[in-house]
């Protein structure tokens, strides 16, 4: 299985390349990719530098153009595709059908992957993109159990990539509008969930309150650590109980089931976190390289090592991890 690592900037890209990534993925500095954050991503010069560095070390580079253009922005997405095609990248990661149609027509030699934002959870859905746009890989949403991943892997017309580690979307990607409902901006339209410009933190007599466009996402008492107010990871009231009604602040970690993922034919493991620091990328790439090598060498006796898990916990959201939907009881 290949290791696909996030590169939010050049230092992160180098950290991934130096620590065992087989491929890195990155985006341009605008809303054409799903990590459209201030100070993140690549301008032309940095992109060229990064691609050269990766290629010199035998590492592939994928460009994510995985948001959904509306007519007023269409030109920007088309230019992003053309721009990426001119950069000698190894694949584009696309979500929108229109963008994919354009890319496959204009750059027929360019390898296309279907982004997790494309929301394809079955072989039939993947078939749609495979027949029309000859995609070469699909990234599966984080909603399938291990058994369901196996079913898709067995019947999919193209190899599959799954998320192995990082921040966890509890909703099926590409079809979640919670963020735009509250802030006007969503991953699909703007490339960000719960965007920073809508966030406020206020010390109050009731505790530290985190808000998103004035909606109270959570309130933290003394001694409670307050995470970023991603709106599905707050505490809310349901039936007179206050709890994490949708999801706890937690990260996905599939290290425990690597041999199973390998056995069902997963082609690549993706690490989330283009918005994270180069130190995160370095740490996570290193640990996952070791795990993947160990799993490949001897899947029967593979066991995640305690120091790997400890290292990952340290960089996890809420300092905890879950197998998420792969593990049926989580659902």
């Amino acid at each position: 299985m290949q290791l696909v690592c996030p590169a939010g900037n050049l230092p992160s890209l180098k950290a991934a390349v130096d620590n065992g990534a087989n491929a890195v993925y990155m985006g341009f500095k605008d809303d054409t990719n799903a990590r459209h954050f201030a100070g993140l991503n690549f301008d032309d010069r940095r992109a060229q530098e990064g691609i050269e560095y990766a290629h010199n070390h035998g590492v592939k580079v994928f460009i994510a153009i995985n948001t959904y253009p509306q007519p007023s922005g269409w030109q920007r997405w088309q230019e992003a595709v053309d721009h990426a095609a001119g950069l000698n990248v190894d694949a584009l990661i696309l979500a929108d059908i229109g963008v994919m149609d354009y890319a496959s027509e204009r750059w027929p030699e360019l390898r296309l992957h279907l982004s997790v934002q494309g929301s394809a959870t079955s072989a039939e859905a993947i078939e749609f993109y495979s027949q029309r746009f000859a995609i070469k890989r699909v990234v599966l949403p984080r909603v399938l159990s291990l058994k369901q991943v196996k079913q898709v892997a067995e019947t999919s017309p193209v190899p599959i990539e799954v998320f192995g580690f990082g921040s966890l979307c509890v909703m099926v990607e590409g079809r979640c509008m919670l963020s735009s409902y509250v802030t006007g901006r969503s991953p699909n339209t703007y490339g960000a969930c719960s965007p920073a410009n809508a966030v406020s933190w206020n010390e109050t007599p009731n505790g530290l309150e985190t808000r998103l466009n004035n909606i109270l996402i959570d309130r933290h008492g003394e001694g409670e650590s307050a995470g970023y107010p991603t709106l599905c990871k707050g505490r809310f009231n349901v039936n007179a109980n206050t709890y994490y009604a949708i999801e706890e602040p937690t990260s996905l970690n599939t290290m425990a089931i690597l041999p199973e993922l390998q056995a069902v034919g997963v082609a690549a493991i993706k690490i989330e976190g283009r918005q994270r620091s180069p130190a995160y990328v370095k740490q996570v790439a290193k640990v996952w390289r070791a795990a993947l090598d160990a799993c490949e060498k001897n899947p029967q006796h593979y066991q995640p090592q305690a120091d790997w898990l400890a290292a990952l916990e340290k960089v996890s959201e809420g300092s905890q991890t879950t197998l998420g939907a792969y593990h049926r009881p989580w659902q």
């Binding site: 749609f128 984080r142 919670l178 006007g184 349901v238 206050t242």
Partner: protein, 321 residues
Amino acid sequence: MTQTIKSLPKLSLGPVLYYWPREQIFDFYRTIAQTPVDVVYLGETVCAKRRLMKPDDWLQVARILTEAGKEVVLSTLTLLEANSELSSLRKICNNSQYMVEANDMAAVQIVSARQSSDNKGFVTGPAVNIYNSRTLEVLAKAGLKRWALPVELSLETLTELHQNRPAGLETEVFVFGRLPLAYSARCFTARAHNLPKDDCQFRCLDYPDGLLLSTREDESFLVLNGIQTQSAKTQNLLTELNNLIELDIDVLRISPQSTHTDKIIAVFNDCLHGKQAIDEAEKWLQHYILTGECDGYWHNQPGMDKTVIDKTIMDAALNTK
């Protein structure tokens, strides 16, 4: 200068998004058969475990509605995971009698691959991501006959897409109801009852309009409906009716709720046909709205926002009543 006479939009009733007992579903659609709604979407689109209505029951409802002169469309599941869900999907997609509303790309692929000569094409629901004209063109080539605007898109984007749509393609807009916002592998209703999804005890049956989620300041925020999350506020575009007519939108979708759906249809129908003034009807509609209303998406604002209507105009309308 010639003036084009625009035909009025048809009214549609979206699929029931909640889990209601079989008898309630039958009663509901017997009532709907008597309303002036033109198109009715039928079937389970949220959770495959909701099986009180068997496939034959849905077909029976379809017959009742067809006999009442309604156009029936069979809706498919939005988030597909298990193999069993895909076999049900194939059955719906391969039916030869009714048009299909595809709510996922798997359904689009199956209906577009049908070879039969009676292929009616398909409709896409609001959860199929159509954000630009090129996407519409690809899907039109695959057999798309009608598309529903994704709920997070605005009047501005709708206008561009509708005016440049492929010939013969109909456009549908979600004009009334709690907005479907997200889908998950996890069941939030089961979670609220500390139950695993595999043993959910069908708690959705307890919540005919979903389970309200509020902030810690007791502000109504979202609605948990099994694996689906909805807005607590009802999107209401009644005041945009003239814009929708002017734009020549083909179908206006009302989303079912457990009470007053027939009255809501009547309000929209009366306003469409000029039997009731919109600002006056808007006041009536307030009685049927569950926890506040919103129209932010339409104005390219946060979906939960509500455009403030000049109160003096509203008051004047009421005083003339």
